[in-house]
Structure formats: C-alpha cells, structure tokens
C-alpha cells in the first residue's frame, strides 16, 4: 500500500490555531523566512476573541493581524481544518470538509487556545443554556437574540463581555451572576490601575445588573429555558428568562499537546496548561506552545507569547527578546485574574444526583459519584465516551472530583471513516 491514498504537504513551521497567539507566531516565523502553514478549525482566523461573523464587530487589532496574515506570501492559512492524529513524529493528519491530508513540519507551534469550563447544574442541558463565551460566539455568528431576556452566570470577566455582546445584539440582560465575592472582585478591579487599558475596558463593561457571590441553583423549563433560580447571601431568587449563558472560567486546550507527549505545567488550583520555557518551547523537541493553551491570560499575553514562539522557532532569538517584557507584564495580569476569580467550593454542590454530568451519554452525577477515577467512570458508566470525548464532562469531573483525564488518543475529534481508513492505510504502508 502506498501513501497515494492520502496527499501530503510540508512546511517549515506548522501552527495549530489562528487566534492571537497563532497569528503573531505565523507573522514572526514568516518574517524569519520560513514557509508557514496555519490550521484552524473555525471558518475565519481570529480565534474565539476575534471571531468574525454577521453579528461581530472586529476590533482594529484583529483586522490588522488578519491583513498581516494575508499580506505575507509565506503563510498558508487552512481554515475549517481539524487535527485528527499524529501518524509520525513530525506529521499531523488533518481533515477539512472536503478532504484529509498529512502535513509534515520541521517546527510545530501549538496555539490551541482554551475552552470554557462548564459546570453541571439542574437544567444545564435545556435548549437555551449555552456557555458565556459560547453565547458570544453564537451571537457573532448570527444567532438572533433581539428581545430575549438573558441571565449570564458563572465567573470571570468573560461574563461581562458576553453580556455586552448580547446587549449590543438587542437582548435584555436581566442579571449577571458572578460567583466570586465582592471583596475578591473589588480587589481585582482596584489592581487594574497597573493595566490602564484593562481598567478602561472594565469601565465600559460595567453593568448595573452585576451581582457578586451569586450562583445558579437550577435552570427551569420543560423543553427550553423559562427561568433560573439563583442563590445569593443565603437567599434564592427566581428570574424569568429565555436564555442562560454560563461559564466558569477557561481551561487550557492541551489535548493535542498531550497527544504529542508535551509535559503539562505543575497543577495549581485550575487545570494546568502546557509547560513552556523562556522561548515558549515545550518539553518535546521542535514543538512550541503559545497563548491560552499554556494557561489562561488574555489576548495581549497570547500575542506576546506567539511572537516569541514564532521568532524562536526560526532561531531569531534577538527578535523574540523584544517581546519578553510584554509577556511578563501580561503574565502578572493573568496571575491577578486567577486570584480574583478563584472558584468557590460551593460550586461543587450545584449538580444534584440526577443532574447529567456527561451530556453525550446522559450519565447522571449519581452514577459516577462513587467511582475511583476517570477511567472507572468511563469504563463502567460510559462517562466521557460520547462525541465530545470528555471535553465537557472531563473538565467538570476534574473540578468536581479532582480526576485527571489520561492523555487523549486519536482521533482527537469525530472524523469521517474515510479519514480513518486513510490513516490505517498509511500506518500499514509505513510498517511494510
């Protein structure tokens, strides 16, 4: 069997993810003369923060980076493309809507971003419940929310950003429920003076419907959201609404890095990101990581890390050095953010015995509560065995029970049979 069944391409630097980190890495690497390929699973570059669509208004910085990508002839952008597997140490198997192919690289930069931490509570599977960032993404992509009453709940500055996006699209945001205490949020806000841009942003997002020390008890409704019950200072309150957007901060997307054998940073209070050194190099030779997959910290930190990774990947250490101060500045911001919005223990009491933990396989919390760990829950109760492959319930179980999921196995996401068949052909061909 030859490899003719699956076409192959090659590049000097392969970048996975076209958010701020990936864009900065691509431009930096291309400036160093490398041929660069950027793959991204969204329809357009920009990542989650700079998502384009009929309901989006892209900031000037996002447009500038997109133009920079387009202007640079050494950069190939493959949108709508997912990583399926790593069939050889320097090859990734990719799939888009039309084809599957292999991409061989000399340097790889992982800019795989973060996903929202979604925690289960009664009613979280009802249509009308989305992530907070999820709501933002859906609205930008044209989801009509005009006239809808929306409650945003969870933790972190993303709640305010999601509320602002929904309001700009004509929704009535009736409550923003932040689980952190008033003291914690006020402390965070006071500290923003060191980052004047962020302080301004906080002011523009300020909202009279914002409440601290407030968490979801349940979302109510038969086949869609009708109301939400919130708990604040020992009192429950019911708010009628059409939609609930919830997010409890971000989890670094380390799936691909772990598949490739990259070490994780030391675990802290939250799920750890990929471990990187001063040059953004991971523990695997030739593989770098930048942006939220190394730990949550925002777009400015991602841009600085991406630029360092891109320059370092092509050996331009002098150019990389110019971004070190910016990285340190935004690392400090990230530390403050983590402290200000640390998740309260009470959130572990949100799900009830019959609340589904695994949305794909309909596994209730009671089924897995007595399990010894993730593997036990998976093998005996199918928790995490569905289409999302444990990305939602695995993160939740890590928070609820402290279970660390094992490194993922290929395929990294559901793919077409033809793609897998090609992978099998290749593996057979390589062995013979």
């Amino acid at each position: 069997m030859t490899n003719a069944a699956m076409a192959g391409e090659r590049c000097d630097v392969l970048i996975v993810g076209a958010g701020p980190a990936g864009m900065a890495a691509a431009v930096a690497a291309a400036q160093g003369g490398a041929s660069v390929a950027v793959i991204d699973d969204n329809p357009a570059p920009g990542g989650q923060i700079w998502r384009d669509g009929p309901g989006a208004s892209l900031p000037a910085a996002a447009r500038a980076w997109r133009d920079a990508l387009e202007r640079q002839p050494r950069i190939r952008l493959c949108s709508g493309t997912r990583v399926v597997a790593a069939p050889a140490p320097d090859v990734l198997l990719l799939e888009d809507a039309a084809r599957a192919w292999r991409m061989q690289w000399q340097r790889l930069i992982l800019c795989t971003g973060a996903r929202e931490l979604m925690l289960p509570f009664p009613g979280w599977t009802l249509p009308g419940v989305t992530g907070a960032g999820g709501l933002q993404a859906l609205v930008k992509a044209g989801l009509p929310v005009e006239g809808e009453r929306i409650v945003v709940a969870g933790s972190g500055p993303l709640l305010l950003a999601a509320a602002a996006t929904a309001r700009a699209a004509g929704a009535k945001v009736v409550r923003i429920a932040e689980q952190a205490s008033f003291a914690a949020v006020a402390g965070f806000a006071a500290g923003l003076l060191r980052w004047p841009g962020k302080a301004m942003q906080a002011l523009t997002l300020a909202d009279a419907r914002y409440r601290t020390a407030s968490r979801i008890v349940a979302v109510q409704g038969g086949t869609q959201v009708k109301a939400v019950r919130l708990l604040r200072a020992g009192r429950t309150e019911e708010i009628a609404c059409d939609r609930v957007a919830c997010g409890f901060g971000l989890v670094p997307n380390t799936q691909l890095g772990r598949l490739l054998g990259c070490a994780l940073a030391a675990p802290g209070d939250r799920a750890p990101g990929l471990a990187v050194d001063a040059q953004q190099a991971t523990s695997r030779p030739g593989i770098y990581a930048a942006g939220e997959c190394t730990g949550f910290g925002g777009s400015e930190r991602a841009l600085a890390q991406g630029a360092i990774a891109g320059h370092a990947a092509v050996g331009n250490m002098q150019a990389a050095q110019r971004h070190v101060a910016a990285r340190a500045r935004w690392d400090a911001f990230a530390d403050r953010l983590h402290r200000g919005f640390a998740l309260a223990d009470e959130l572990r009491r949100m799900p009830q015995a019959d609340t589904l933990l695994c949305r794909c396989e309909d596994v209730p919390l009671a089924a897995v509560a007595g399990c010894s760990g993730w593997a036990d829950a998976k093998l005996h109760h199918r928790c995490g065995m569905g289409a999302c492959q444990g990305r939602v319930c695995g993160d939740a179980a890590q928070f609820l029970f402290g279970w660390t999921p094992p490194p993922p196995r290929p395929p990294l996401s559901p793919v077409r049979i033809a793609t897998l068949a090609g992978l099998a052909d290749d593996a057979g061909g390589d062995r013979q």
């Binding site: 709508g80 809507a97 419940v129 989305t130 794909c360």
Partner: protein, 83 residues
C-alpha cells in the same frame, strides 16, 4: 457582506439568514429553540459551547455530519437535524 442573505433548507423547510451566519444561528432563525439533535435519553439539545467543543450541535449538512456552530451557511445547503 452586509445586507446579503443566503437561503438554505433545514429539515426541508426554507430558511433565509444573513450571509456569514453559522448553521447554529440558522437553526434558531428557523424557529423554536434551535434544537440540533436528540440526546441518548430523547431530550432536545441545542448548540451549547458555540465553538466546536461540545458536539451538541452536530447535524447532517449536505449528507455529512458536521458541527452547526463551525459551519457557515451556504446558498442551497440542506441541513437535517437529529430531532
């Protein structure tokens, strides 16, 4: 692309959306709560994460299973939900 629209079919019904809209948005434009599929236990599920992680919005698009939240509507597209 402002002002431009595309026409697609969801479960056989014509739906018009703004150009550049995702299929997830079109499910909602089509009416109801935007349900994409039915769960193992038969409950309705709609787009949840909005960014290709949760797989709750998977539908058949022109005969292929794809994520509604990461697919841009195209003229004449045929979408089948799992309801």
């Amino acid at each position: 692309m402002s002002g431009a629209h595309v026409l697609l079919h969801i479960d056989g019904r014509p739906v018009q959306v703004k150009a550049g809209s995702s299929v997830a948005a079109a499910l909602r434009v089509a009416g109801g709560s935007g349900v994409a599929r039915t769960s193992v236990g038969g409950a309705p599920r709609a787009p949840f994460c909005g960014m290709g992680v949760c797989q709750e919005c998977r539908v058949q698009i022109d005969g292929q299973r794809r994520l509604a939240c990461q697919t841009v509507c195209a003229e004449g597209m045929r979408v089948e939900t799992g309801r």
